[in-house]
Symmetry: C2
Subunit: 598 residues, 2 copies
């Protein structure tokens, strides 16, 4: 079983040299933070997660969370203790505003911490993650009183949060939900209905659970325009603001899942024994869907990070195994000696592929986070707007591309382990199982692809995506100043050309019939992710090349190699997607269901 070690050097490199943390720290809002302080925070966080949370990942998987006869949920041994320490250390508050009791650091720093926590234990990390989502909603849409009552203890982690959207017939189609909210005389609402897939819907780690629940009021219009959002605390607060009477919220069952066993996925029943669970409206009636969109970007980026986090964790295990395991003789090795499998070319390819994709995913997710920060805090309106647009464009790439890649990279890590990879005790199979949900929840990757072609490409009539293409092309000038980077320059240019061609095809033909855009949307998302990643890897090569002028540094030299490997050997794989992107919808729809069944 491999230990986890936070990849601080690479995190720091991306923060400082690729996504602009130093400039971000100069903005008034983050004036008290500086890159050095951030480095210290991440170092301490990395130690905490590696030492206290990482070791819980296996028990979390093997024992899992359990539903007791009394309807309560017990998390795996050690989860509650570690969570208590997490609360005491104040990790949850770091990226939230000081006004609400947070640390006032950029969201970007919170994202780096999320990466680390999720690598340590994805199942554990989901409790703070869902809380973050609920905090987000309250910060933006809660009343003064609600923020006062709930935010402080949610930000410090004493209370956790959940998001209750999904119902049996309302998954990707949130607008189909049927949970009810009936106004009570005291201004509260009575909430009833059944919600499924509720992450940490009950548990024993926090003193209260603040459920955010989507439901319909009696006269609500149908579909997404009739959804309201409610606070439904597990324990209704008493007059002094402390958890009081238990609310009418019950765990019906826990799901038996492929992975993330430590994280209890609940079926929750609201108002089963009374007229309804006590709920408090957030903001206005029928505006719930709009409020959800506020949190969506953060949530989707966090799920994209899960692809990165588990790829990193699985890669660390694979790299360690490849150095220890000896099998066969590599070409050139002394006769009669068996070689560590890392010396076999194909194992090297698997390791290099993992490392290169991990570096690319990290840069993409962090850039997305930095753009979100800048869209909020930069003094210049136009710059805020440009960053908001970039963040919007990148969200489906961070979520969709990183989680697809996460599935593939954890599978490669299993493969490096050979037969041992298939044995659960080895531990690497858990990462492969755990990460599989990330391409599904928070909007399946198909939904991400539809979002990319249906909402993001049309922004400013295509202006946002063409700005992105221009931004990527702008790197060519600097690449052109280095003769040794010619092949990177050429490969990147070809890929950007293909991306532009594909983008224009989708925009032109999607206007004729939206099915044309949707039919190619998933391969298009893959292409968009791959090209953006190639551009970010080329940037890393340039940054490392600049820094290397001062001397000799193994990390920076490796950056140049993995960057070149990505751009020369992995990026071109996206080229083959263009025919699928530009094929249109007709062949997809020309078989009946019975013909598809053969």
């Amino acid at each position: 079983m491999s230990d986890y070690r936070a990849p601080l050097r690479d995190i720091q490199f991306v923060l400082e040299h690729i996504v602009g943390l130093p400039e971000l720290c100069q903005v008034d809002e983050f004036a008290h933070a500086d890159p050095e302080m951030v480095a210290g925070v991440l170092e301490e966080n990395g130690r905490f997660m590696a030492d206290l949370v990482g070791p819980l990942n296996v028990v979390g998987d093997q024992v899992g969370s359990v539903l007791n006869a009394d309807g309560s949920v017990t998390t795996p041994d050690g989860f509650a203790d570690a969570y208590q320490r997490y609360v005491e250390a104040g990790w949850g508050g770091v990226p939230f505003s000081e006004a609400h009791g947070g640390g006032g650091f950029p969201w970007l720093v919170g994202v780096a911490m999320q990466e680390i926590m999720c690598s340590a234990s994805m199942a554990f990390s989901l409790c703070p993650l869902l809380t973050q989502g609920a905090i987000d909603a309250l910060v933006h849409h809660g009343s003064e009183e609600q923020r006062e009552l709930y935010l402080g203890r949610m930000i410090n982690g004493e209370w956790s949060g959940t998001m209750n959207l999904t119902e049996p017939d309302a998954g990707s189609d949130v607008g189909a939900l049927r949970a009810k909210a009936v106004p009570a005389e005291d201004g509260s609402y009575l909430i009833s209905g059944t919600k499924i897939f509720i992450t940490y819907g009950d548990h024993d780690m926090a003193d209260n659970i603040i459920h955010l629940v989507l439901a319909r009021t009696p006269d609500a219009p149908p579909g997404t325009r009739g959804i309201s959002c409610f606070i439904v605390p597990k324990f209704v607060l008493d007059e002094s603001g402390e958890p009081g009477e238990p609310n009418d919220v019950h765990v019906v069952s826990l799901e038996h899942k492929l992975g993330i066993h430590g994280s209890p996925t609940c079926v929750l029943s609201f108002g089963e024994n009374t007229e309804g669970a006590v709920g408090y409206l957030i903001g206005e009636e029928n505006a719930g869907m709009r409020y959800m969109f506020t949190m969506m970007n953060n949530a989707r980026l966090s799920v994209g990070l899960q692809g990165l986090s588990l790829s990193e964790r699985a890669y660390q295990a694979a790299l360690e195994y490849a150095q220890e395991r000896r099998q066969g003789r590599a070409p050139g090795a002394p006769k009669g000696e068996s070689s560590a499998i890392i010396d076999h070319a194909d194992v090297r390819r698997m390791l290099m592929t993992q490392r290169a994709y991990i570096e690319a995913m990290r840069a993409l997710c962090y850039l997305n986070a930095a753009a979100m920060d800048r869209s909020r805090v930069l003094p210049d309106e136009a710059e805020r707007q440009a960053n908001a647009e970039l963040a919007e464009l990148l969200i489906p790439l961070s979520k969709g591309w990183c989680t697809d890649i996460g599935n593939e990279m954890t599978s490669l890590a299993v493969q490096v382990h050979g037969g041992m990879g298939y044995i659960e005790e080895t531990g690497v199979a858990q990462h492969f199982r755990d990460v599989r949900i990330a391409a599904i929840y928070e909007g399946t990757n198909g939904i991400q692809a539809a979002d990319l072609v249906g909402r993001k490409l049309p922004m400013r009539g295509g202006g946002v995506v063409f700005d992105h293409i221009a931004r990527m092309r702008a790197l060519d000038t600097e690449l052109g100043q280095h003769d040794e980077l010619t092949s990177i320059r050429d490969s990147l240019t070809v890929a950007i050309d293909q991306f532009e061609t594909a983008t224009r095809w989708i925009m032109d033909h999607g206007v004729e019939d939206p099915r044309n855009a949707l039919a190619g949307s998933s391969p298009y998302l893959r292409l968009a992710g791959q090209v953006t990643a190639g551009w970010l890897m080329a940037q890393q090569v340039l940054a490392a090349t600049r820094l290397l002028v001062d001397g000799d540094d193994e990390f920076l030299q490796a950056k140049v190699v993995t960057g070149r490997f990505f751009v020369e050997q992995l990026l071109p794989q996206a080229a083959g997607l263009v025919p699928a992107i530009t094929a249109g919808y007709e062949d997809l729809f020309s078989l009946s269901a019975s013909a598809l069944a053969g």
Copy 2:
């Protein structure tokens, strides 16, 4: 939970129109078989597997095989009964020679039956599969007496077989094995040592288990040249040839695996309580490795089939779910109605991708089997030789490409299910877990890639692979006769050109340094599989087009569409692999292990 239905129409189509079953049946050896009879056998087999074995797949996963306190293994409820019925029906013997009590059908027919059995339950199918391997070894290398004693009851399935190769330090590197075989006075050998990953190493389904064990005699040379192969029966046969005294073979433990829980994967200890377990030498001392090569092609093809089988099973589940599940409104659907998700373009793409790859895998594996049959039974020596070469070339593609694709297609089937795919009760996640071993065992896919570039390309100085390229190019003439197939023709030509370029690069640069060939071997295997599959799909389009002249047939019309979809939209994805294939080894080896760790 979706039922399994054998895809008889497509199986029959490939047998009759793509891989030449009718011509094969005209050979003397198979004169008693004809395509109609084969169709009948497969129909009955399909019914048997769907009705009796398919329903056991879930309990096999949930309960798994269990090691009892007395060291015996109990298989999941229903496995032993179904196996008994399997023996009574005589399914195991169908593809074996009548001289040994088999049905005398082509191996090709046995392979079609294997596909069906593995779709029904991969975990169940492994018992007959391992038995087949042991039979193979005895047929080719056993003495007259050994064949007489063991073969009949192994072919009818009363006794099962196992293959004992792997040891803790000898996996991919079989030559490192250390199990001992000391000659006894009576001509038998005393076998001692520990073997791991022994599939169905013990169980309660058969009256005896015939272990084939690789071990070293006292004066054996080191490495693969010093390995001998022994028969070690669970119950030593008494004078009348019946199972008698228990041998000194013990199950130390069962592995806790990612999938195929129904199949007991044993650590076996030989000779723990005595001087050694009783073993009987097969053939000559030190020839064991050569004997293993005899069985290797069959075994690797069977594992390739597992990629096909579980893709088919998972696809059936996904297709059913996509028709039942309603979410959102597809473009063009009536307002206010939710659409079945099969009407969403991206879900269609996932389903079409699965279907197209399944058809391609089936054609590839069946062609491989047919070539193996023809290499054995054709009257003309040159034709036998040509088919033997083709079979050798295709083996790493069947094994490596189909199992990689199997991982991807079962993952797509999970994705079609959305959140339900992650819930174990839905059943589709099991196929995703089960199939994951297939890319690992029987030679990891990295080993397959090394075999392809290191052993198969050099055959006849490249003559075999260039013959294959010429054979693929020859389809161009027929494609050229159909105007509507121009795009297929063009796409296939481009892909074959790329494959030829990549092949020449590997052959030229592999001579300079074998690491150049090995470095690109995995993407090269992928390219080789994809191009060969594209050629086979184009053949299917042509065959369907010919047959459609007579009228209207939904199945044949669908063939044209899936074939075109594959060649136009999936085949081009291989193009992007060429840069990785032709990059050489240097970047792969330029980072130290510590640099790889960042």
